[in-house]
């Protein structure tokens, strides 16, 4: 038994037929083939699967696909255009905030959402804002540096850019 749902992902409308037990993460990765969002645990503990759902960050492994019916989703693929990186993405590369990169999609999505709400966070606020995103490689020092740096570069609250990629 499947349910037909409609959702907008990175500005593009999709209708998908989903099994009731499929998570939003699985819909994104397996059905829409957007594999930028990662699965690190499937229990809501690592944050690798973080996406923005109707303006709020969620761990997409804990959201059922059917629950996302009618919603607006931003994933890592929708944070930048092909030509221009978001300041957070740029800073993560330039400041060495990425090592293996498996946590990175989640870290970036959470940071972008954090900066949307609080454009001038202190390092402590950034640490707390990323408390749900585990990173095993960096020890966080350079991640925090990068997000702090990105915040300085963003004049206005970050606009969400819509990917041109289909």
């Amino acid at each position: 038994m499947t349910h037909d749902i409609e959702l907008t992902v990175n500005g593009v409308a999709h209708s998908v037929s989903v099994e009731p037990r499929k998570t939003l993460l699985s819909v994104l990765r397996d059905q829409l083939h957007m594999t930028g969002t990662k699965e690190g645990c499937s229990t809501g503990d690592c944050g690798a699967c973080t996406v923005i759902l109707d303006g709020k960050t969620v761990t997409s492994c804990l959201v059922l696909g059917v629950e996302a019916d009618g919603s607006d989703v931003t994933t890592i693929e929708g944070i930048a255009t092909c030509e221009e990186l978001h300041p957070v993405q740029e800073a993560i590369v330039e400041k060495g905030g990425v090592q293996c990169g498996f946590c990175t999609a989640g870290i970036i999505v959470s940071s972008v959402a954090l900066l949307n709400e609080n454009p001038k966070p202190t390092p402590d606020q950034i640490r707390r804002g990323l408390a749900g995103n585990l990173c095993r490689c960096t020890g966080y020092t350079k991640v925090i540096e990068a997000v702090t740096d990105a915040a300085k570069k963003i004049k206005k609250p970050a606009r969400r850019k819509v990917s041109k990629r289909k």
Binding site: E19, G40, A80, I92, V98, A105, D124, R127, G139
Partner: protein, 733 residues
């Protein structure tokens, strides 16, 4: 110390594939999706130790969507699935192959296995008792006896170091410290659970995509497990979502290949997080009794003790010399046992065995310093291996690397100069690691536009390819952005060793430099024809070849590369294959500042200085990042991490909620100090960087706790309960 004569090497260059990673475009192993792909799932033992009486797969086979069910019986004598005995919780019993992961999961639950549960050994100390349960039936063990002549159980391996006159040294010592330390199994907890996909092709070859630290290593291991020739396999390594040593070894690659050969369709097996904990390759735990003696002046005169490694079903032993560490100790009597326990055989985790042994060694040295009234820094400087000393790895040191790293750490941390409040303390610990080297390669080709393509078989674990690009850019005097580095699979490049043991940048960096030098020579030769000059009269600078002293007679790298396409000698290329290169040890020193709440036992890490002797930092930003990450892992072992096994030998914390790793709010900024004194064999003076950072952190925290509240916690992790217990004990004494 940036070297002013270098343009690319030594610069803080961001990851070249960074833009792909941060936009979610980089493919990791689980992102591979193939037409007609099936999904495999493993049925695992729920028991730590049991005999299999029978397996009934009939119901599972009948489930619609199930394509194959594989048990030992179907494997024709291979040992990829348990036949009669399961030896740890998570041991593989059967593999279901189905149209989708949900069906595979349902089918696994329909397999009925009748087990006869056996006694299990999950602790090495209890596991060697003469009457302990046998961990693995029929396994060959050493005949080692206790003082009553009774044979110890489950001792798979034994070694010893005996040197000098230990008894006399203890008799003459001014201070002696003896403690028992314990450390649990410790999971690498990379964020990417292992995933692999195999596709059998007509004609018998199989392609395997996997997350691994070495494609050829995986190829040999799969070939061995399935008793097939290496040439039948093509292993394609993907971007790796963290490994730290664990992904040196197989997860379910052999099973995926086997299932794909049987079904004729691609088969993916994704390990979930729980399976990672049950059947990964974590670092071993250990039990250590260590006794250390010193003279009044702080010189360490003797080390005596025994270590029991929690060796899993393989009974893996460790490196005993690590209990002595990077210090000159004349009298040694040490004994090490690799004890079989009902756990998966441990694997490598950054500097295998070093953090556990450093905890014991560095705590004892610290205790001696306090007993003798000597500064913990001074006692280490007094005993540190120095220039001219021969290390346990057999090399003679050309510099005072360790002493200089200790001094650099002390300076950065303002050792002895900071005003610590009540219940705050500072602790220092040191570590050493001699990196390996191994077969690797670099193949370079220049394009018409002067861009440079590099191919290597060396898997990039934390920026290796960026560093290789920097080296190539340096030699060819082009901007780093003009260089791309591709990872070749086992069909495209010659045998390449693992990216592990801090050897990737050391070895592949050397290959990149030599290959680029070869390309440079070709470039000059080709330019000589264009400029009608002798190659010896030419210089390559800023992307141009010109006649020395006549800068106007010049030609760009792009022009040379382009015209070479049509020349008699063909395109501009260079290549280099490395076998082995000599190596030196490198040293890491951590100074931790903590605050202990004596009421709750909670330890708060206020500051961490991590100094490391890196030879030369090829990319300081990436080096600092590796040091910060490694130090964080060690601190976590010190304060919060460890796998917990219950009485029945089952893992009680097989998820990321109960096996908590540090989050951003748990950590302070880690201050790094790079000590750069060069190493004659490494590329541009570099040494291996990846392992040393993880060694001293836990011990530095232990010593800081002592400094703060005067108690020594000897069991990892040093949880609030253990700190409180140590405080209570101290009050009673």
């Amino acid at each position: 110390m940036p070297n002013p004569s270098l343009n690319s090497v030594g610069k803080r260059v961001g990851r070249l594939n960074g833009p792909d990673i941060v936009t979610g475009r980089t493919l990791y192993a689980d992102d591979i999706q193939l037409q007609e792909m099936l999904h495999g799932r493993v049925l695992r033992s729920p028991h730590a130790h049991a005999l299999i009486r029978s397996i009934d797969t009939r119901k599972a086979r009948k489930l619609p969507g199930v394509v194959d069910v594989i048990t030992a019986e179907e494997t024709d004598g291979l040992s990829i699935l348990a036949r009669k005995e399961v030896r740890y919780q998570g041991d593989k019993v059967a593999v279901v192959v189905a149209e989708n992961p949900d069906i595979a999961l349902d089918a696994v639950e329909l397999i009925e296995v009748d087990y006869q549960v056996l006694g299990s050994a999950t602790d090495p100390f209890e596991g060697i008792a003469p009457n302990a349960p046998v961990a693995v039936r029929g396994a060959k063990n050493e005949d080692v006896r206790d003082e009553n002549g009774k044979r110890y159980r489950n001792v798979a391996a034994r070694d010893e170091i005996v040197q000098g006159d230990v008894d006399a040294a203890f008799a003459k010592a001014d201070a002696v410290v003896e403690n028992i330390y314990r450390a649990p199994y410790w999971h690498q907890t990379y964020m990417e659970p292992n995933s692999c996909t195999a596709q059998a092709q007509p004609g018998g070859r199989v392609t395997l995509w996997t997350s691994c630290q070495g494609s050829f290593n995986i190829r040999s291991a799969v070939a061995d497990a399935l008793k097939i020739g290496e040439g039948r396999l093509r292993v394609v390594p993907l971007e790796m979502g963290g490994g730290f040593g664990a992904k040196n070894r197989l997860f379910c690659e052999a099973h995926a290949v086997f299932a794909s050969i049987r079904t004729g369709r691609p088969v993916k097996i994704l390990i979930n997080r729980e399976e990672e904990f049950l059947d990964g390759h974590p670092a071993p735990g250990c039990w250590v009794r260590l006794k250390t003696a010193a003279r009044k002046d702080g010189s360490i005169t003797a080390v005596e003790g025994r270590i029991l490694w929690d060796g899993g079903i393989g009974g893996r032993n460790g490196n005993l010399a690590r209990l002595v560490g990077p210090y000159n100790v004349p009298n040694i009597r040490l004994e090490g046992f690799g004890v079989r326990t009902n756990k998966p055989t441990p694997g490598a985790y950054r500097a295998p065995g070093a953090p556990q042994t450093a905890m014991a060694r560095e705590s004892n040295i610290d205790a001696l310093a306090h007993k003798l009234g000597i500064d913990p820094i001074d006692i280490r400087l007094k005993n540190a291996v120095r220039k001219g000393d021969r290390t346990s790895g057999g090399v003679t040191l050309p510099h005072d690397w360790l002493a200089n790293t200790i001094k650099a750490a002390a300076k950065e941390a303002r050792w002895g100069k900071t005003g610590l409040k009540k219940n705050q303390g500072m602790g220092i610990a040191c570590g050493d690691w001699q990196n390996g080297s191994g077969p690797t390669n670099a193949f370079i080709a220049l394009s018409e536009d002067g861009s440079v393509q590099v191919l290597t078989g060396q898997v990039d674990i934390t920026g290796l390819h960026t560093v290789m690009a920097q080296i190539v850019a340096e030699v060819l005097t082009v901007p780093v952005g003009k260089v791309t580095v591709q990872l070749g699979d086992t069909d495209k490049v010659p045998y390449t060793s693992l990216s592990a043991g801090s050897k990737a940048a050391y070895s592949a960096g050397t290959a990149a430099r030599k290959a680029a030098e070869g390309a440079r020579e070709r470039l000059l030769q080709e330019a000589a024809d264009i400029l009608e000059a002798a190659p010896a009269d030419l210089e390559l600078k800023g992307g141009k070849v010109s006649v020395i002293g006549l800068p106007s007679r010049s030609v760009t790298v792009a022009d040379v590369a382009s015209s070479a396409m049509d020349s008699n000698d063909g395109p501009v290329t260079g290549q280099w294959i490395v076998g082995k290169i000599p190596t030196y040890p490198s040293y890491s020193v951590n100074i931790a500042t903590v605050e202990v709440d004596p009421g709750t036992g909670r330890v708060h890490l206020l500051d961490l200085v991590a100094a490391q002797d890196v030879g030369r930092a090829l990319n300081p930003m990436l080096v600092e990042g590796q040091i910060q990450g490694g130090a964080t892992q060690s601190i976590a072992y010190g304060m919060m991490e460890g796998m917990i096994y219950d009485e029945e030998g089952r893992v009680r914390n097989a998820n990321l909620l109960d096996y908590a790793i540090p989050t951003a709010p748990d950590m302070p900024d880690i201050r790094t100090v790079l000590v750069e004194e060069g190493c004659e064999h490494g590329p541009y003076g570099a040494k291996g960087v990846g392992e040393p950072p993880i060694i001293p952190g836990a011990a530095a925290v232990a010593n800081a706790i002592y400094d703060a509240v005067g108690v020594r916690v000897t069991e990892l992790p040093m949880t609030p309960e253990r700190v409180v217990a140590a405080l209570d004990q101290a009050r009673e004494d």
